[in-house]
Symmetry: C2
Subunit: 196 residues, 2 copies
């Protein structure tokens, strides 16, 4: 086994077990078993249980933010940026269910260690949206009367909750592209029927 592989394995087992049971109900011994290592081995790679959670946030969230930002700089129309963001972010959630559930539950906790992280890193997420909203307002494409902070939170929260609808309706077969289009449509055009 390559160096570094073991750490990766532990991280991925932890994402899975944390998502499955929640941080506190997840036992180190379960993570170790799932990763195929001994309990003690985990402590060679991580200071303690919390340290695993923080490593997941630090590393995995950073990957996502980087990926989204890289894609967004290829567009310059704010409307297109919104569409790209919704598509990328929603698809990312769908393709990383365990990580998504973990972020959605544990990132919300009030724990001191997480709170610090939350306030710092989570705002980067919102900043991505905030930026193309204000850009759109400056370019007179988006309405200027809406506070971009509220809009950023609203869009983020909406995507998040719709992803949970999908996760918790395992019986239903959803068309992800349809969901993405409809979310964009709702944000862009609103609910009300156009009088044409």
């Amino acid at each position: 086994m390559k160096i570094g592989d073991k750490r990766e394995k532990i991280i991925h087992s932890a994402i899975y077990i944390f998502a499955e049971k929640g941080f506190h109900e997840a036992k180190i011994s379960e993570i170790a078993e799932n990763a195929g290592v001994a309990d003690g081995t985990i402590y060679l790679y991580f200071k303690n249980k919390t340290d695993i959670l923080l490593a997941i946030f630090e590393e995995e969230v950073a990957k996502i933010i980087t990926k989204i930002n890289q894609r967004l700089i290829t567009a310059d129309d704010p409307l297109e940026k919104l569409r790209i963001f919704v598509k990328l972010y929603f698809n990312m959630l769908m393709n990383n269910k365990d990580l998504a559930l973990l972020l959605q539950t544990e990132l919300r906790r009030g724990n001191e260690y997480i709170k610090e992280y939350y306030e710092h890193k989570f705002s980067e997420y919102l900043k991505i949206i905030f930026d193309f909203i204000t850009e759109g307002q400056n370019k007179k494409i988006f309405r200027e009367d809406l506070n971009p902070d509220f809009v950023a939170s609203a869009i983020y929260g909406a995507i998040d909750e719709v992803s949970r609808l999908v996760f918790f309706s395992p019986d239903k077969k959803y068309n992800f592209n349809l969901i993405i289009d409809q979310l964009n449509d709702l944000f862009i055009k609103g609910l009300v029927k156009k009088s044409d």
Copy 2:
């Protein structure tokens, strides 16, 4: 002290402590101390720690749903129902910060005991929105191409996340009525500037 008062006191202390620390970090002894009773007393009113959490969900969420439904039947325009819902629900979150934080964190957990509750009771929330959305579509007020399930989740998630923005920006003084108006505006008219 009146009969029943003690149970109420424990419930309210639990809401406070659970919201502050999270369910698992909250100690029975802390809840007892805050409520001004002995640790053992809590077990005269509740089977165990989880039972307190479930009681909070059962009782407090039921109150909210009842209140919203009672108010909604006084309106018949779906657009007005949307406005009423957003206003009532957002204000409820603002006026019950501890309960709001508790619902937002613990209701998302994957625990078996909560999952059962979540799937049953949480859907009642979404059903409220779902109903006036479909009503609006049937009356040709709302666009019919949007899946009302997605819209319900999106609206719920948006309000929830904006409430967290407010909770976690204690320095900023937000005008709640402005937020409510802007949320409604976003849902109803969308982001894009009207070409007039």
